[in-house]
């Protein structure tokens, strides 16, 4: 089949369009003027201001801890559930499965509000704990869906063969299933991490005295006068993301390529299934 140029052109154009807003945010981070609608010449003053802002560093640390804790908890809960669910002898599996995905389907604002009141009701102290619980609730479905989707694609004969050879359930899980679903877990964790790192609406309600997160900081600053300091912050975050992505791509190149490819398609089908709710 002859290759047409139209697909590549289309892909390139759309991708460029996706990055234009981000690019503009980056450009305006070098704007000397405090008012965002006026261009006052190039300057690094907002980066200087940013580094002087001690709260931002705290918020950054909090966010990273939170995203790590909640995406890892989600990984444990989600993976165990996805592996065990098909064979578990418990009632209401379908309902629990449906309910566990609700946190990504109902409006965040209402979820935040009920969490606030509910946590107060069960006397959970507001702070990192409440934040982690709330974030885990919307991180778990991503991991669960991705792993579940991956498990469906795995040839069951491996596990059966292993069992016939006398392997225990644990051996099968550890030596066969886990390596096969690891890419799905990884991408689930990455997605969950990103979601946690971007959450504002729920966090506003369940955060405590001392636990500002970075998105909260960005949100409140955006609300009270956009200074290019926020642009500067986002530019740095963007740069860091790029760096991590490039580095991981570089490392991945050195390791098995096939696994990498699987991650990508896993991500795609996982996001789809997260609401598609394969039952």
């Amino acid at each position: 089949m002859k290759k047409s140029k139209i697909p590549s052109l289309y892909l390139g154009l759309m991708l460029a369009l996706m990055y234009v807003p981000i690019l503009l945010v980056i450009i305006y981070s070098f704007n000397e003027s405090r008012i965002s609608s006026v261009w006052g010449g190039w300057s690094l003053r907002w980066y200087r201001d940013l580094f002087r802002d001690r709260d931002i560093m705290d918020a950054m640390t909090n966010s990273l801890i939170l995203a790590t804790v909640s995406s890892l908890s989600a990984a444990v809960i989600g993976t165990l559930a996805a592996v065990g669910m098909p064979r578990a002898n418990l009632k209401g599996k379908g309902i629990i499965e449906y309910l566990s995905t609700l946190p990504i389907m109902i409006p965040e604002i209402i979820l935040g509000m009920v969490f606030l009141v509910y946590f107060a009701l069960i006397r959970l102290p507001f702070g990192m704990v409440t934040l982690a619980v709330a974030h885990t609730s919307f991180c778990t479905p991503y991991v669960y869906m991705l792993v579940k989707a991956r498990l469906v694609g795995i040839d069951k004969s491996y596990a059966e063969a292993a069992k016939d050879l006398g392997a225990t359930e644990w051996n099968v899980f550890w030596d066969i299933t886990l390596p096969l679903i690891l890419p799905a877990i990884t991408s689930g964790v990455l997605l969950a991490f990103a979601m946690s790192l971007d959450d504002v609406v729920i966090s506003v309600f369940v955060t405590g005295v001392n636990t500002n997160t970075l998105p909260l900081k960005i949100y409140t600053q955006l609300k009270t006068g956009v200074t290019p300091k926020i642009n500067a912050l986002c530019t740095l975050m963007f740069a860091a993301t790029m760096l991590i992505v490039l580095m991981s791509a570089w490392f991945a190149k050195k390791s098995v390529r096939k696994t990498e490819r699987r991650i990508s398609s896993e991500e795609a089908s996982g996001i789809r299934n997260s609401v598609g709710l394969a039952r």
Binding site: R87, L102, Y118, S137, I218, A268, V275, L277
Partner: protein, 309 residues
């Protein structure tokens, strides 16, 4: 040892005396699979069902005079939704969601489809390029659109510089701006969905159709499109559902003039202090969402969805 941990089905065939039965029941309880789902059971019951039950109860309570709720039962929060202005809000939300979904499909389908035909290396690169924006704050990305749309902003400057327009277009705070913002925020989901189904497509089928004399267009419709339809459908669901609740896009790019159910819930909570009404709105929204998903399952068929992976 291997016999001991075999799961349910095999146990049924075990010869069954009374002691064995008890043992089997015990074993079932301590079964590996059962234990491994305990965390999600506990978490879901404690931290998802609990709050949701609370929300459901709340939607039947009366609001207090100034703040909080009274413990009195009422239907009024639900009958309140039937007032023309609130029904209209639901209608407007649905309308915008349809608009958004339509355009997202229009833009995202070819993207996902073309992407699936790239080489493995480029597929990986594209996937990374699509994921990166996910890692930057979604609010900030919207702010980028303000820079583009505002009076004498980037777009105005380009158009006026080229002599296409003479005066600022006043694009910010319009319905179109909201639609663009929604498409921008949601198109990746469509791309991922279409891509993952197109990637599994057997291109030999398309070629076979061509060999049998089909035009490229016919081959696409009869083979590719039909086989990627489940992906498109799940993309539709993935776009449609969040677009009902995304309130900050309508706020930021629409100048607060496009009110969606999400905005209404937010206002009821934060400004009108009417929590029960907000809860009732959320319950209705949740029901609508669930209907959408059920409909999707019916149309696409669960098997298709699983077969894709």
């Amino acid at each position: 040892m291997s016999a001991e941990i075999k799961a349910g089905p095999t146990e049924a065939s075990d010869p069954g005396g009374v002691p064995q039965k008890r043992k089997a029941a015990l074993r079932r309880f301590f079964d590996a699979a059962t234990i491994s789902v305990m965390p999600i059971y506990a978490f879901t019951l404690l931290f998802v069902v609990g709050p949701l039950v609370y929300m459901f109860i709340l939607s039947f309570l009366k609001r207090a005079e100034t703040w909080g709720v009274l413990r009195e039962f009422t239907w009024s929060n639900y009958t309140n939704i039937l007032k023309p202005v609130y029904l209209k809000t639901f209608y407007e939300s649905l309308k915008l969601a349809f608009f958004t979904t339509f355009f997202v499909a229009l833009v995202g389908y070819p993207f996902g489809y073309f992407m699936a035909r790239l080489s493995a290396t480029w597929k990986r690169r594209m996937m990374l390029l699509l994921m990166i924006p996910f890692w930057t704050s979604s609010l900030i990305r919207l702010y980028g659109w303000i820079i583009i749309f505002r009076a004498n902003g980037t777009l105005d400057k380009i158009l006026m510089g080229l002599g296409i327009t003479q005066a600022p277009l006043k694009l910010l705070y319009t319905y179109s701006a909201v639609v663009v913002g929604m498409i921008y925020a949601l198109v990746p989901f469509m791309i991922f969905a279409v891509y993952s189904s197109a990637e599994k497509l057997d291109w030999q089928l398309v070629e076979a159709a061509r060999d049998l004399g089909a035009t490229p267009w016919q081959a696409f419709i009869t083979v590719s499109f039909r086989l990627t339809l489940p992906g498109l459908l799940s993309g539709v669901v993935l776009t449609f559902i969040p677009s009902m609740g995304l309130f900050f896009i309508a706020d930021i790019l629409g100048g607060n003039k496009v009110i969606l159910v999400g905005n209404l819930i937010q206002e009821q909570l934060m400004k009108a202090r009417n929590w029960p009404f907000a809860a009732a709105l959320s319950v209705v929204l949740m029901i609508l969402t669930s209907i959408m998903i059920a409909l999707y399952r019916k149309v696409s068929g669960v098997k298709d969805l699983e077969g894709l992976v």
